[in-house]
Structure formats: C-alpha cells, structure tokens
Symmetry: C2
Subunit: 173 residues, 2 copies
C-alpha cells in the first residue's frame, strides 16, 4: 500500500521549505538571491510597477497631494510590503514549529512630515517611525506565540531593510 | 471673455501643488500626514494588503521559496514602492521647474542573502544594497536634469526611509 504523506501546515509545504534549507546548507552561495522591479511613469503622479512576468501594479497619490487617487501611494505600498513580509515570516516559522495559524491580520501605520518632500525645510522626507500591530490567532501557548513573534521580527527581510537602512545607489542611466 | 488658465505640465496640476505648499507654509502642522495599511494572511505565503478604500493587492512567494507564485513578493514590492516614489518626485519637481518629461522608466534591483531569513546564521535578512537606474527623457539641459535628479533623490519619502532606516515597533496586539 502506498501511503502519501502530505506534510503541509497552514498551507505551507514543509518539504519544499526543508529542501530549501538543506540546499542552502549544502551550497551556501544558493542563498544569494537577486530581486528586481521596473517602474514606468504614466503621467501626473501615476506609475506602474512590474516584477518578473506579473502584470502592472498601479500607483498614484491622493487628490490632496496633487494626484488622481486611483491607487495606494508609494508610502502606503511600503507599509504593505512590510506587512506582507511579516505574514510570510509568521506562516513559515509557525509551520516549522508545528503551530497552526487560525487567522492573522497585521495593522501598520506611520507618520510623515511633508516639509522635506515639498522643499520647505527639514531633513527627513521619510517615515519618522512605523508601528505594527499583529493580530495572531494560533493554536499555541502564549510563550510559544511570543517566541514565534520574536523569531519573525528578528528575521524579516523587509523589516531588517527598514530598521537598519540600506545603501541606495540611484543614478541617471 | 473668460480665459481659463490650465496650469498643468506633465499632467501635474501645478495650482493644486502650489496650494498645498502655501497651506503648509501657513499651517505647518498640516504637513503632518499619517499613512496606514492592513494585511491579511490568506494561507501559505499569500496575503492581501489594503490601503484606504482600495481593493486588495496580492502578495505571494515564488515556488522556489515555498510559495505559489501568484504575485510579486514583499521584497519586490519594496523595490516597486521606491521606484513609484521616485517617479512622483521627478514628476513633481520637473513640473515645478517647467521641465516637460517625455518618458521615465526606473529599474531597481538588490541582493538578499537568505541565510538569516532561513535561520541559518548571519544577521541581516534584508537587502545588502539597492541599485536604481533612472531612464529619464526630458526637455531640459544635462545640468537641469542633474539638478532635478539631485532634488528628487534628496527629498524622496521612501528613499529617505530606506537609506536612513526607521524605528519599527512591531507588537502582538
């Protein structure tokens, strides 16, 4: 009799994650990944981003900031990227720890002072801080949830990029 | 005879930008803006982000990283947010300077070592650096383009957030 073992938890394929970890252990250079995006300006404050073969994702500014309010703006997209990254972290680490996630919602917010963007002084055009509230309902003890949370926060690619800062080389091509 | 003055350049409404600048000059506190996003995990490494009343934007990971490859992943979204932000910066500052943009494409890329995310050592899960190539065709001299570029890079909300880093407060709610 053939027994099919489905090693999935939280719809995460544990075997493929295990294979990825094993591959990186065997071939450390395989951990080096490269990511790209292409952005095309489409008029006004609108633009489209494309990654790999996926269709365009629209960007715009609210009317109060001179846009036409057809899509989330770049600073909202930044918060979304952080939230999505943390969601992957919880799903991956909970699954590896045998914890079932019943639901997960992440609220993100941050403040920006427009003076610098508008050329009216100040020297920080970006977020002053970002607050994230994680609503996690999972089949685990409070101590296990706390350990999971600390692991996720300590290993988030977008989280680390934001909290540590990253060298940017922006050049006219 | 009524003369209607349409003060637009690059499809940017110069009057509304001017009004915004004037408002911030008169009422500095109006420059303080707050931005939010909400992310809901939808199974596996998939999640949806929502900002204001806009529909959900999907997120997933490539199959090689244990996902189902239905959308750009969070670290690609981060690059896209930076590119979209720079596009707004070029459109705003070119329009203010009377420069017509004929076309604008922005290529972004960066490298991430997966060791830290996978719990295999290292202490930076994020981008090591991000390179951005700006393809700008505009009705301006090379010196004007260079000045525009420096202004945009020096006043980008997403650019500053990334290059300086930002305090993150991530808590279980």
């Amino acid at each position: 009799m053939t027994q099919k073992t489905t090693r999935t938890l939280n719809q995460v394929d544990l075997a493929s994650i295990g294979a990825l970890v094993e591959k990186v252990r065997q071939e450390p250079h395989s951990a080096k990944t490269q990511w790209k995006a292409e952005v095309r300006w489409t008029g006004g404050f609108r633009s489209d981003s494309r990654c790999r073969d996926f269709g365009p994702v629209h960007s715009d500014e609210p009317t109060g900031l001179g846009g036409t309010n057809t899509a989330p703006n770049p600073v909202e997209q930044l918060l979304a990227a952080l939230g999505n990254c943390l969601a992957v972290g919880y799903a991956a680490n909970a699954s590896a720890a045998g914890i079932e996630i019943r639901s997960l919602k992440i609220d993100l917010e941050g403040a920006i002072d427009l003076h610098t963007f508008l050329g009216l002084g100040g020297n920080n055009a970006g977020y002053e801080s970002i607050r994230v509230g994680v609503h996690l309902d999972a089949d685990a003890t409070p101590a296990e949830i706390k350990a999971l949370h600390e692991k996720v926060v300590g290993s988030s690619p977008v989280g680390h990029t934001l909290s540590r800062g990253v060298p940017l080389k922006i050049e006219l091509a």
